[in-house]
Amino acid sequence: MKHNTEQITAIKDLIFRMADDQLILGHRNSEWTGLGPILEEDIAFSSMAQDKLGHSQALFQILSRMGETDPDSLAFGRKENKMKCCHLVEYPIGEYDFSLMRHFLFDESEALRFDMLRNSSFEDLSHIAWKFRGELKYHTMHAEVWIKQLSNGNDESRVRMQNALNECYPLALGLFEPSDFEDILIESDVFPGEKVLQEKWYERVSMILSKTDLIIPEVTDPAIAYGGRRGIHTEYLKPLLDEMTEVYNIDPSAEW
């Protein structure tokens, strides 16, 4: 299907949001490499962080083909206010309970998002949605087993997981901050929209959590973590970008 200029702008916005989420969370989760709780989990969590960077790379490549600059410049050359990631992915890794809970809430939404994109009228997106389905399925399996394990563990692990959920859940709602282009994406069959995704996500997350004693916290203001999609970020993004782009910025024209 051919898309018009207005639709292309909307599609680019959607891809930037997805790519930036994957890039920033991939970088965050890679901070656990070498510091993970046990060797086996260190390897698994690092591998999944690497997968996320791979997904963001594939998305930046699509943007390049759509007329944006090269993938490296897109990943490392943009200022904070041009980034469209949500606040959830920007937070420091904290303790392992926080990182696991974020991994669970984020990857469930990402897996469902890619599920929905398999039927997208924008072929590049439907293509990678098929390509990455195996990796995303493993990511959610991994997250669900850990959540079940620790939430049904002893009192300490249950309390820690509940606290992590209380902290992550309101931030996770920022994943679904509607863009200005929702109607265009929906009408052109590119993507069914953030609202539909959020409903599916809530259903899935509550189903998994119902197998534990964890309680989803009440959120009075669902827009509390909005802003990321419009370039308004937490205090944590700038230091992350500085660290991530330190080597790149020494000589952005260097060939690797």
């Binding site: 901070e31 070498g34 510091l35 046990i38 060797l39 086996e40 989990e41 390897i43 698994a44 591998s47 999944m48 493993y138 399996m141 991994h142 087993v145 850990w146 394990q149 660290e243």
Partner: protein
């Protein structure tokens, strides 16, 4: 004074230079599982290594990334190491007669010669 490392993640944590980390006691270690992987349909599962896990569900999740990320794999088995029955080292003698009795090996029958002869007919 806190630890200064070339790894920014370590420096950022502001860890005291002297710390009293006590090593885990034996009882706090997870048990080990043996991992078997099947490369394609119809193949035997082959032992590829072992790993630590608190239960079989976790063992499968962790085995996938340890042993099936870089090789083709369609199925994984995990078995608690302690569930495997084995012969003891001093029982090794019971295998001792095998190398002497070459007629027990399939190769000893020279069947291929006869098959090849038959094929040529």
């Amino acid at each position: 004074m806190s630890i200064k490392s070339i790894d920014p993640r370590i420096t950022r944590e502001k860890l005291p230079e002297e710390n009293d980390i006590t090593p885990l006691k034996e009882i706090h270690h997870w048990q080990t599982y043996e991992v078997f992987h099947q490369a394609k349909t119809g193949d035997h599962h082959i032992h590829v290594g072992s790993l630590h896990a608190p239960n079989s569900e976790m063992a499968l999740i962790l085995a996938k990334e340890q042993y099936a990320r870089r090789y083709s794999c369609i199925n994984l088995w995990v078995v608690k190491t302690s569930d495997i029955c084995r012969t003891t080292n001093d029982e090794e003698e019971i295998f001792g007669t095998t190398p002497d009795k070459i007629y027990r090996e399939a190769g000893g029958y020279k069947v291929m010669d006869r098959i090849n002869k038959f094929k040529q007919k």
